[in-house]
């Protein structure tokens, strides 16, 4: 198992290198640059800026310099747009915020989704099932950019219960309740639907029928024999879903002014802020690799048939 983990991490290195070079080149091939303005800059002014940021160098040299900076100094360079900030400092400020509300959202989505799906499957075709399906379908079709403004109208404008934006850390839930609801709902719905169908399948399998025939209590059957195998498809979905949640969402960051990294990711692409774009891409790529590995380890733990 340990050898397997090391082998996987070894594979991650070339994957990351390809990701960096590929994104870097693609990014620079996009028309326009960080300093393309509606009112064009005088040529010499633009030349001075390009010289300062090394954008006057040939692309291969920029790519190599960039890689060197990351590998040797773990320095992603300065932001071309937020000129007071380095990429490292933007990520250092924004990532803890998305990590906080993203992790809470993940926990909420899993807890509610798995419970809802399991209950619906166990009480198949009952009113509980219809309710659970109804809730998850509704949640699925409510995109977060619709939910976010509705939540703020209800909880900030009408009830005056929660602040309409900002972020003050884990210990100030008033600021993260609405972001968590808006972010976790659709994930929760997907998990619930997935859990329900996989649970239904498991409940019809031979070993469950055997357990029932033996006269085992329903509760014991579900907890001990059905839940673990039913979770397998959900877990494979969780890897990328979790990365999606902890790297934030541009919608959540925009509507709730959280200062999270999702907004910077999208903005950096639109602004051609190459350095920020690359920094967040690398972060995202690294997290995806780690979480996929975690999923595989979980698999082995849950499913005795899987051995690495």
């Amino acid at each position: 198992m340990i050898r397997y983990i090391f082998r996987r991490l070894g594979h991650a290195i070339p994957v990351m290198l390809i990701l960096i070079v590929f994104s870097f080149v693609i990014m620079h091939l996009a028309p326009g640059g960080p300093f393309t303005r509606e009112r064009a800059l005088p040529p010499q002014v633009l030349a001075n800026i390009n010289a300062k940021y090394g954008l006057d160098q040939p692309l291969w040299k920029q790519t190599l310099d960039y890689l060197w900076g990351i590998v040797v100094h773990f320095d992603f360079g300065p932001s071309f747009v937020y000129t007071d900030q380095s990429v490292n400092s933007i990520i250092a400020q924004g990532f803890p915020i998305t990590l906080t509300y993203g992790t809470i959202s993940g926990v909420v989505a899993i807890a509610v989704g798995v419970t809802l799906g399991a209950v619906a499957a166990i009480r198949h075709n009952s009113w509980l099932d219809s309710l659970a399906v109804g809730v998850s379908v509704t949640a699925q079709v409510l995109p977060n950019f619709v939910m976010a403004p509705i939540l703020v109208v209800i909880f900030t404008l009408w009830l005056h219960w929660l602040p309409g934006g900002g972020f003050e850390g884990l210990l100030s839930p008033a600021y993260w309740i609405m972001p968590v609801i808006a972010l976790s709902t659709s994930y929760m719905a997907s998990i619930a639907r997935m859990m329900r169908s996989s649970m239904l399948e498991v409940m019809n399998q031979n070993h469950i029928r055997t357990a029932r025939a033996k006269g085992l209590a329903m509760r014991r059957i579900v907890m001990k024999h059905a839940l673990k195998p039913a979770l397998l498809p959900v877990i494979s979905y969780l890897g990328p879903a979790f990365v999606g949640m902890i790297t934030g969402s541009v919608v959540i960051d925009m509507y709730f002014s959280t200062g999270g990294i999702g907004k910077f990711f999208v903005d950096s692409a639109l602004n051609r802020d190459y350095a920020v774009m690359m920094g967040i891409t690398v972060l995202l790529g690294g997290l995806t690799i780690v979480f996929n590995l975690l999923v595989d380890i979980l698999y082995a733990w849950i499913d005795p048939k899987i051995r690495y």
Binding site: K52, D253, M254, G259, G260
Partner: protein
């Protein structure tokens, strides 16, 4: 150059701007206990460095943290800042500013002429790589161009400290008085604290490092969330400053900002597109509207890469005439925008709006004339004109483009709409890879020169490819003209005559402000505001 008699008359005349204190509490107003205010920012600030700042949000914050030679009162009038007055030499080339001795930085050091010299050199220094370096070439400051081009060291810039409180600026050629004065209220010309910048480098603008000479100091900047400022007790006019702290909240979503304003979390709010009439009716005491010095236009590609048809002035005129501006302002935008038939916003300081003939015609007359012009140019039902309109992806631009497509269809022009992401669009525009494009410019200095110099061929910054020696000459003459409005008028008529662009509308700024806030909105058309002019009254 012929000496200018009027300019000579102004020689050695000292210009002293009227002294007005910061926030003057109006009679009948009782100050509220709570003097903390919450403002709205569409996008986070990019930098708090005065010389590097280039966006609206940056200069909104910098104006509170620093103070330039001159400043503005709530009504937009020019008031002394660090300078109390200035003189201009007989030839108009030497400007001497007198700085007040009591001005200090927030760490207690005096603000001196050397701080301005350092800042202005820094602005043009290629090392700084400021986007706004050309602000000093626009002002014709001696050697500014050579320093930017790397041909002379920054120390050769035509600016020096005669003593600690006397700043001397040398120009290559005279420029209008109003242009210089309006320019020194721009953040790029504000002083810079040399010691702090040399100690911390690019990180000097972080909370804890930054020192300023403005009415407020920086407490906190949480990127993507908010910027918090508190009163600077060392500000030279702190005695007249009332508001204790200011928080700029970054909210990218205008509807969200409006909801939070209504919930009482913000003191000002934007008005999302199209909602002005509804909000005006519902909250008449909170909604405001005022002119803003920006122009929205459609540009025609006259360059070699542009379509043949657009090289014919009759076609360009026809296309412009066919646009029914009032439908765009009254039925699409609905925010009090003003139909435009010329380029420079009429609200700009000292500018006399030109009288453009077709602005008086009825739309039916314009359309008839447009059809006629296109026919003369050889276009008609059997040989229709086909064009592509490009714009950057946005709901408002799309609505306008669709309307214009219809207006042009009515005169037999077939158009295709093409929308692109912002950077792609801007890049194509400047590379002349388009046919007809949407365009908008806001004045950076409250002076018509700022708008009109845009069409000079030497700057080659305008995306139309329009070049005219007559126009260039006009723009050069205006710098020393006794009545610049004569030249402005001619320049505007040249543009109307050659029609490299079809002006569509002049902007308004509208928004909402809580009824207990005084000193906002400001009257100046560039939207420069100073929190020290504001206060909150008892409700």
């Amino acid at each position: 150059m012929k000496p200018n008699p009027l300019l000579a008359l102004a020689v050695a005349l000292s210009f002293i701007v009227p002294n007005a204190s910061a926030a003057t509490v109006a009679p009948g107003d009782t100050l509220a206990e709570n003097q903390d205010i919450d403002l709205w920012l569409l996008d986070d600030i990019k930098t708090l460095d005065p010389q590097k700042s280039a966006s609206v949000g940056d200069s909104d914050a910098i104006r509170q943290l620093f103070e330039g030679l001159y400043s503005q009162a709530a009504n937009g009038d020019l008031v002394p800042g660090v300078a109390t007055g200035h003189e201009v030499s007989a030839d108009g080339l030497i400007w001497t500013f007198h700085l007040r001795p009591e001005a200090t930085w927030s760490n207690g050091d005096p603000v001196t002429a050397q701080d301005f010299v350092y800042a202005w050199r820094r602005l043009v220094d290629p090392e700084t790589a400021s986007e706004k370096a050309s602000a000093l070439t626009d002002l014709k400051v001696k050697n500014a161009k050579a320093v930017i081009d790397g041909k002379l060291p920054p120390a050769e810039l035509g600016v020096r400290a005669i003593d600690a409180h006397t700043l001397e600026v040398t120009l290559d050629q005279p420029i209008p008085h109003g242009y210089m004065i309006a320019s020194v209220t721009n953040t790029n010309t504000f002083p810079a604290p040399r010691a702090v910048i040399e100690t911390y480098g690019d990180a000097w603008t972080q909370p804890g490092h930054l020192i300023g000479n403005g009415a407020y100091s920086l407490v906190e900047h949480r990127i993507g969330q908010k910027i918090v400022l508190k009163r600077n007790p060392r500000y030279r006019d702190d005695a007249h400053t009332i508001v204790k702290s200011v928080t700029f909240h970054v909210i990218n979503e205008e509807n969200q900002a409006l909801t939070r304003f209504r919930a009482g979390e913000l003191d000002v709010s934007p008005i999302p597109s199209g909602q002005y009439p509804r909000l005006k009716e519902k909250y008449p005491d909170q909604v405001y509207k005022k002119p803003r010095a920006c122009t929205y236009a459609y540009v025609f590609n006259l360059s070699l890469k542009g379509p043949e048809a657009l090289k014919d002035v009759r076609v360009r005129k026809g296309l412009s005439l066919a646009i029914d501006r009032s439908i765009i302002t009254d039925n699409i935008l609905k925010g009090g925008q003003i139909p435009a038939y010329s380029w420079t916003p009429p609200s700009m300081a000292g500018f006399k709006a030109p009288d453009i003939d077709y602005s008086h015609w009825s739309q039916a007359e314009r359309v008839a004339k447009a059809e006629n012009l296109l026919k003369q140019a050889g276009y008609g039902p059997d040989h229709p004109l086909k064009l592509t309109i490009s714009y950057n992806t946005s709901e408002a631009h799309k609505k306008i483009a669709v309307a214009i497509q219809q207006f042009w269809k009515a005169i037999g022009v077939e158009t295709r709409l093409e929308n692109m992401e912002w950077k792609v669009f801007t890049d194509r525009l400047h590379k002349h890879e388009y046919e007809v494009g949407r365009y908008a410019i806001c004045a950076g200095v409250d002076n018509a020169i700022d708008m009109l110099s845009f069409f000079k061929s030497t700057d080659s910054l305008n995306p139309t490819g329009f070049a005219s020696a007559d126009y260039d000459r006009l723009m050069n003459d205006v710098l020393t003209a006794t009545d610049p409005n004569i030249d402005y008028d001619q320049a505007e008529h040249t543009l109307a005559d050659k029609m490299p662009i079809a002006p569509i509308y002049f902007y308004t700024s509208n928004g909402m402000v809580k009824p207990d806030i005084r000193g906002f909105p400001v009257q100046n058309v560039l939207n420069f505001f100073y929190v020290r002019n504001m206060y909150r009254v008892v409700k």
